[in-house]
Amino acid sequence: MAAAEDASRPFAGLSDVSISEDIPVEGDISVPLGSSRRDDEFSTLDEPVKETILRDLRAVGNKFIHVLYPKRSSSLLRDWDLWGPLLLCVTLALLLQGGAADSDDQGGPQFAEVFVIVWFGSIIITLNSKLLGGTISFFQSLCVLGYCIMPLTVAMAVCRVVLLSGSGTVSFAVRLAVVTASFGWSTFASTAFLADSQPPNRKALVVYPVFLFYFVIGWMILTFSP
């Protein structure tokens, strides 16, 4: 009993506590300054929209430069994004339009067909690489394959410019040279990124589908006739 009284004594004085109206309950609920600064670095809600868009555009542009000068670097793999491949695919599909438009259905590839070939082909090559035991992830591989279409898109733009001046044998020879060079560049650039993720005795098995993929895209570009 004495123990019980002792136990209740620390709380004894609280039984008559009441909050009177003349004690103001007020304060500042703002977070202290130190932690709010850290939050601002990670939260992007407050920055202007232009800044958000420019950050992504800078990342995409950075990867374009990496494709132009393909060194064995891992930045394309580390921060993968699919904006660049989407931009390139849409540009390529748009540039391949307007060819043989007045003919029947035996014409050039439609917009959707280019999309299907590029994305479906990339997915199949990625699955192939993963089934062969590659260490690269699904989206990283899609990112690399999509970005390495850039030389072929540039070649398509050059081909359209060359075709403006006529479609004889000379223009065909020029277009053939440009497309062949860009096809070689694309294949070389993508294998520079993808080759490291495979064991050495299967590298050829992974490179061949990439070769076939860019060959088919190069063929679509070469056979474009206005």
Binding site: L131, L205, V216
Partner: protein, 300 residues
């Protein structure tokens, strides 16, 4: 009085390891740290209980030790990964083996050796599809080179048609053949039986001879096209015949003839059909294009 070889005695790890080396197929019991005490008690209770309780966990160890493949359900990724367990040298060897038939050498036994792969059939079929479409396009362009009425079109629709034809040949014919062989196996006891994947593999690799043949068909010479088609048919047909001969030779003679001729006939149909559809000869195209201008001239 407990003897030294008392099976219920808990053995030290090294002894168990030595026992394992002596008999690789023995059931092993993996004892983790937190389970030592219960395991010891269960050990005393009897080996049988341990085996039943631990076989599921020991499956991996057992199979790894006995060198067999794990059986995983077919909806997982790993199931398909075992069909890509192949190296570049193996693929090259298999392609060469499918092109050069050697009497007495069975493609499945000498090259596949219980490791059929899906890489070869899939990519050979894809390459063949694009090769047919591109070569057909080039050959049409070459035959119409001097013709001013001809407007060049890339003809991408033909890729879809080629893909349908080649992939259905490479998948449905093996399916039918496998079903047929299975059915005959029930009637007649055959020494040799092939799995579905092995048959798909043989058919896929046997299409590889057509890739150079199709490229040769670009040149608009009929005699060259017919020569190359005959050579390709002989090579791929004989590879298929030599492969399936051991599986049917114990059967009724009429059934043997029926199966073998069906294999060869389907092969011929595919080759000739592709040639006829995608590669037109020069004489066929000219009259079609020259008629519309005369109509245009007549109408005032």
């Amino acid at each position: 009085m407990a003897s030294t070889s008392d099976p219920f005695q808990f053995k030290e790890f090294e002894e168990a390891g030595n026992l394992l080396e002596a008999n690789r197929d023995a059931t092993t019991i993996s004892i983790e740290d937190e389970d030592v005490k219960p395991h010891k008690q269960r050990n005393a209770a009897g080996f049988a209980a341990d085996e039943d309780g631990d076989t599921l966990g020991n499956d991996d160890q057992e199979e790894l030790l006995s060198g067999q493949k794990k059986s995983v359900p077919f909806w997982t990724f790993e199931y398909y990964q075992k069909f890509f367990d192949i190296e570049a040298i193996d693929v090259k060897e298999r392609i060469v083996g499918s092109v050069l038939p050697w009497p007495g050498k069975n493609f499945i036994h000498s090259h596949l050796r219980r490791n059929p792969d899906l890489y070869g059939p899939f990519w050979i079929c894809t390459t063949l599809v694009f090769a047919i479409a591109i070569s057909g396009n080039i050959s049409t362009f070459l035959t119409q080179f001097g013709n001013p009425k001809y407007k060049y079109t890339p003809e991408f629709r033909k890729v879809t048609i080629a893909a349908t034809a080649i992939f259905s040949y490479a998948w449905f014919v093996p399916l039918a053949l496998w079903g047929l062989l299975l059915w005959r196996n029930n009637k007649v006891m055959n020494l040799v039986s092939y799995s579905f994947m092995e048959i798909v593999c043989v058919y896929g690799y046997s299409l590889s001879i057509y890739i150079p043949a199709v490229v040769l068909w670009i040149l608009p010479f009929e005699w060259l096209r017919w020569c190359s088609i005959v050579v390709a048919l002989c090579l791929s047909g004989s590879v298929l015949a030599l492969t399936f001969w051991p599986a049917v030779r114990d059967d009724h003679p009429k059934v043997i003839i029926a199966i073998m001729s069906a294999i060869v006939l389907l092969n011929v149909l595919l080759a000739v059909g592709c040639k006829a559809y995608f590669f037109s000869s020069p004489s066929q195209r000219m009259p079609v294009h020259s008629s519309p201008p005369t109509d245009a001239v007549k109408t005032p």
